[in-house]
């Protein structure tokens, strides 16, 4: 995991990305670039699938804003 997303507390959520549904709208990467990146083809890749608590709100908004419904947050299993 890259240093810039190192969690300050234990992550409670992980991002599930369906790259097959991604159309490269890029809304997620605009809203939460710490988690969502676009690769060379313009499709979503995750900088980290675990969401640090301080990024939870932005990560959730990024996922909910996906026009394709290709992103969702799920609780990390205990």
């Amino acid at each position: 995991m890259p240093n810039d997303v190192a969690p300050s507390q234990r992550p409670a959520f992980q991002v599930i990305a369906d790259r097959g549904s991604c159309c490269g709208y890029g809304v997620c990467a605009e809203i939460c670039p710490e988690i969502y990146k676009l690769d060379e083809a313009g499709l979503v890749v995750l900088a980290s699938d675990l969401v640090p608590p301080e990024l939870e709100e932005k990560a959730r908004e990024g996922a909910e804003s996906c026009p394709q419904g290709a992103l969702r947050l799920e609780p990390v299993d205990a």
């Binding site: 490269g24 890029g26 605009e30 809203i31 083809a41 313009g42 026009p67």
Partner: protein, 429 residues
Amino acid sequence: MRAQDLADGMKAPSGVNSAFANVSASFSVGMDDPYPLYRQLRRSSPVMEGDLMAQFGIPSVHGGTEGRPAFTLFRYADAMTVLRDGATYSSELIGKGLGALVGDFALTAMGGDEHRRMRGLLQPCFAPDLLRKWKEELFAPVIRDQLVAPLVERGGCDLIEDLGIAFPIRVVYEVLGVMTDSRSAAQYSDWGLQILAAMRRNQTPGTWQGALDASQKLYDAIRLAVEERRAAGATGHDLISSLVNAEFEGRRLDDHEVTNFVRMLMPAATETTTRTFGSLMVLLLQRPELLERIRNDRRLIGKAIDEVVRFEPVASWKNRLVTRDVEIGGVKIPEGAFLSVAVGSANRDENVFPDSETFNIDRPAKLSFGFGFGPHMCLGLFLAKAEIETVVNALFDLCPNIRFDPTKPEAVIRGMHLRGPDSVHVIWD
């Protein structure tokens, strides 16, 4: 390319300009500033019984709406709920409106699995990496060298009549890669606008017949181009070649489908881009300090375009058919009801956008609905943004100190739907 073709490319023939003005007149319904009304209704009746679009006579691309219970939505959250869920909130009535004019392949009217499969076929044809090739190889040099550069020595122009109507047409012509000259490209666009004009309410039978005729002519011309392209191997980066070669889950498109799809793009791909560009330029020219800041930092053009799409969405209204009983904002809405979604209101919802009635390119990234949202979100939005960015860059580079022409009428963004300025007169040093 011959010199005469270059000259043609600088300015669209007057037929397109008058068709553009005709669509403006039909869709704007004479209201310059609907935002105070939206603000009031967003507070007093965010889920309003009745169809505000119909009350104002705003054309819709949906048909078969008569006699249905109707509701109008003004809030961001409700717009998102509706646009996200294509199963509960269907677009099928487009098939009885615009769809009846553009054949049996109206993507915007499709739903469910059929739409998913078609979108899967088409999406790669508009993917960001392909778009970069289009921009670099096909349209950026044309916009700069053939459309903007020839204007420079005039010292001023009307950004709509002399540039804004022409450039999206030229981009479509370059991206399709088959039209033999810019005059025929303008003819295609004129036919596209005639189809759109037939969406007006209380139209005469002649308008509909004229649109059907235009649609058939458009079909015949594109079909010929598609057949030629397929016969030649369809090896280029152009859109028709991509469509001919597209495959998804074993399904491919035949000539009829490619033709119908390209025809459907004609009313969608040009005049909306013209208006977005026009509104962007008006908002920047009204704010010389902001314009100067963006001129010095071109990375901000993208943010400025996103904010225009929020603040002045061209397509200000979306419609959906409700397919099961639902409740929105405490209001019961029955199956079969027709919804009008006020995108122009949702995009200025103060619960979501602080200081929502201010044009502010520095606001935090946030989804707005100017390109729609959900399964039917605009397929061409990257293309539209890239075109506009290219034109603005060229104007900044080639037209120093660009500003409003004080001797000409003030540029006004107007209309309740398909909003934008009719003219933007500017001068430069």
